[in-house]
């Protein structure tokens, strides 16, 4: 009896279906979605016609429909146009903050891992300390200290991402620096600087690159959260987090103002992390 029951579970059909097709489809959807977001960021006029700042008092709080595809907010601005123009803010902040975190954290992680000793101790303690705060909280503290502007938002989110990079980089450098080719390079008389740049860094970079893709997603969320709390971009810059927060008082009457930015934000972050997973699988295989 038991074998008869167990048999269908092992049928090739049930095993294969979810594995092959859905992962490919979701990956394709993720790539397409990111392409749309990237297109919106590069040429917003193409997807979201009109000026995002244009107010139309006659069109205040219009529900999604023929007049406005995704509705309008309480100033009469088109939600679609705002979302399209907000893509640039999201991507710029996500990429710039990640780059900052990668360079800052990666640099310290590299030094700590390669030099060891007290440098490693010091960097390790600082990283532990920063890691105690949840990422967004740390960014919040930094952002409130610096004041609200796009640059400060990038700095705040970037710094809060740095400890993660420092750890990943340090661990990888520790493993790479004991590899034989590093010793071989040393036996050829190369100095530390050259060995770090030519042999340690290129071989230690892959895990940080994977972390970077994930961090782009979390940075977009972190930036949106700070904007939601009023610590983000200036109010005249279109931004998803800000739109989300502006729509909040109207949630009962005009659900679309907050809902669409939330959906767009979620989809973007999921798409980024799917691409990150794919990248990780590719990098692991070698």
């Amino acid at each position: 009896m038991a074998t008869a029951l167990a048999a269908p579970a092992r049928s090739p059909l049930r095993l294969r279906m979810p594995r092959l097709s859905t992962s490919r489809v979701t990956f394709a959807v993720a790539v397409v979605w990111l392409a749309i977001v990237a297109a919106a960021a590069l040429i917003p006029g193409l997807l979201g016609p009109g000026d995002p700042a244009a107010l139309d008092p006659s069109q205040v709080l219009t529900a999604p429909g023929e007049q406005a595809l995704l509705g309008t907010d309480h100033y009469g601005r088109s939600v679609l146009t705002l979302l399209v123009h907000g893509a640039r803010t999201a991507l710029v902040i996500g990429l710039a903050a990640t780059a900052l975190g990668l360079v800052l954290g990666g640099w310290f992680g590299l030094l700590a891992g390669y030099l060891g000793g007290w440098v490693d101790m010091l960097v390790g303690r600082v990283v532990d300390m920063l890691m105690c705060f949840p990422g967004v909280l740390l960014a919040l503290v930094i952002a409130s200290g610096l004041g609200a502007s796009t640059t400060n938002l990038i700095i705040a989110v970037g710094i809060s991402a740095a400890p993660g990079f420092a750890r990943v980089m340090r661990g990888q450098v520790l493993s790479v620096r004991s590899r034989l080719y590093v010793e071989a390079a040393r036996s050829m008389g190369f100095g530390s600087g050259r060995i770090i740049v030519c042999h340690v860094l290129p071989n230690a970079l892959a895990p940080s690159a994977v972390l970077a893709t994930v961090t782009v997603g979390t940075s977009i969320v972190a930036a949106a959260s700070l904007s939601f709390l009023g610590l983000g971009v200036r109010s005249d810059v279109p931004d998803w987090g800000q739109l989300l927060s502006m729509g909040q008082p109207y949630l009962a009457s005009a659900w679309w103002i907050s809902t669409f930015p939330g959906v767009v934000l979620t989809l973007t972050v999921i798409a980024v992390s799917l691409v990150g997973d794919w990248l990780r699988d590719r990098m692991d295989s070698d």
Partner: protein, 327 residues
């Protein structure tokens, strides 16, 4: 010997573990003459590789390692040399080939880049001249489709190929001393023979001295001008190969030779082995470190460490050597 290139005298390497120090090499005394092949033989854990790395100045880069004794290379005291000058010697006067060819090359870069890097340590040439020199050097180590190999990445090459590339890389420096740390251990037997033949040929053609670290007595007997036997961090016997093969003086050397299956004559039912294993460097027995495993051990062996006494063509550190002293 007047024409000595490298002379190690009482080299000691200790790992500083804070509360204790662990001696990895207790006493390494050996000489390598110009154009000579010296084989450093011993079981795993006898300190051969550490000795080799110490000559290159690589052990010293680890802050926890303490090195004492003297190492003179062509009159220069290697251990007294400032790090910057030591670095200048590496890759020019001294070169090293490692045990695992597949992991000695950086997987990120192509072979050409890495060879070029090594060549530029020695001389600056135009790009085309560099390429010609690389191809020529690869031909020297028996790689005739140099262009294909130059275009390859390390993972596309076999172990034997990688080791040839590593040797070519060492040769680009035109070193006066090549240190080869078990260069053939990771390779199969036919490739092993080719690589050893190559080292022997290059020694003759280029006149460079070779310190070959190996655990294979057969390899040592074949290639060496002199064999240096290490046990538990100490050099216990040095002698020319014919002496070692005919009359090993140290019971340990005799044990190593005894455990090689005979090529001619009847095969023994059981191959003789040396019982036990090399002592843990942190718990080296008193007296002669070999006494717990030695068939000839007597009372004094466990009390005092035997001094080095000269023999015909070599020297031995043993209270009861298998051959009579001939001073």
């Amino acid at each position: 010997m007047t024409d000595t290139l490298l002379r190690l005298n009482g080299v000691r390497v200790e790992l500083d573990r804070g509360s204790t120090t662990i001696p990895l090499v207790r006493e390494a005394t050996l000489e390598v003459g110009r154009g000579e092949i010296v084989c450093l033989v011993g079981e795993s854990g006898s300190g051969k590789s550490v000795t080799a790395r110490t000559i290159m100045g690589l052990t010293q880069l680890d802050a926890a390692m303490r090195v004492s004794g003297t190492a003179s290379f062509d009159g220069t005291d290697l251990f007294a040399l400032p790090p910057v000058q030591m670095r200048r010697l590496r890759g020019r006067e001294l070169a090293m080939v490692f045990q695992e060819p597949l992991s000695s090359l950086d997987p990120v870069f192509g072979v050409e880049f890495q060879l070029r890097e090594a060549l530029r340590r020695r001389e600056r040439l135009s790009r085309t001249a560099e390429r010609a020199r690389l191809r020529e050097c690869l031909a020297e180590v028996g790689i005739h489709d140099g262009d294909r190999v130059l275009r390859s990445h390390p993972h596309e090459l076999s172990g034997g190929m990688c080791q040839r590339v590593m040797i070519a890389m060492a040769l680009l420096a035109r070193p006066r001393l090549l240190i080869a740390d078990e260069p053939t251990t990771a390779l199969d037997v036919t490739i092993q023979a080719q690589i050893l033949e190559l080292i022997d040929r290059l020694r003759t053609e280029e006149g460079m001295a070779v310190l070959l670290v190996t655990h294979d007595m057969g390899v040592a007997a074949e290639l060496a001008d002199r064999i240096v036997v290490m046990y538990s961090g100490r050099v216990v016997e040095t002698a020319p190969p014919q002496e070692v093969l005919a009359h090993p003086a140290h019971p340990y050397t005799a044990g190593l030779l005894g455990s090689i299956p005979p090529m001619r004559g009847p095969r023994p039912q059981m191959l003789p082995t040396i019982g036990g294993s090399v002592p843990d460097p942190s718990r080296v027995p008193d007296g002669c470190a070999f006494h717990p495993r030695c068939p000839r051990a007597a009372a004094e062996c466990s009390e005092q460490s035997p001094a080095f006494v000269p023999l015909t063509g070599g020297a031995v550190a043993c209270w009861h050597p298998l051959v009579e002293e001939s001073v």
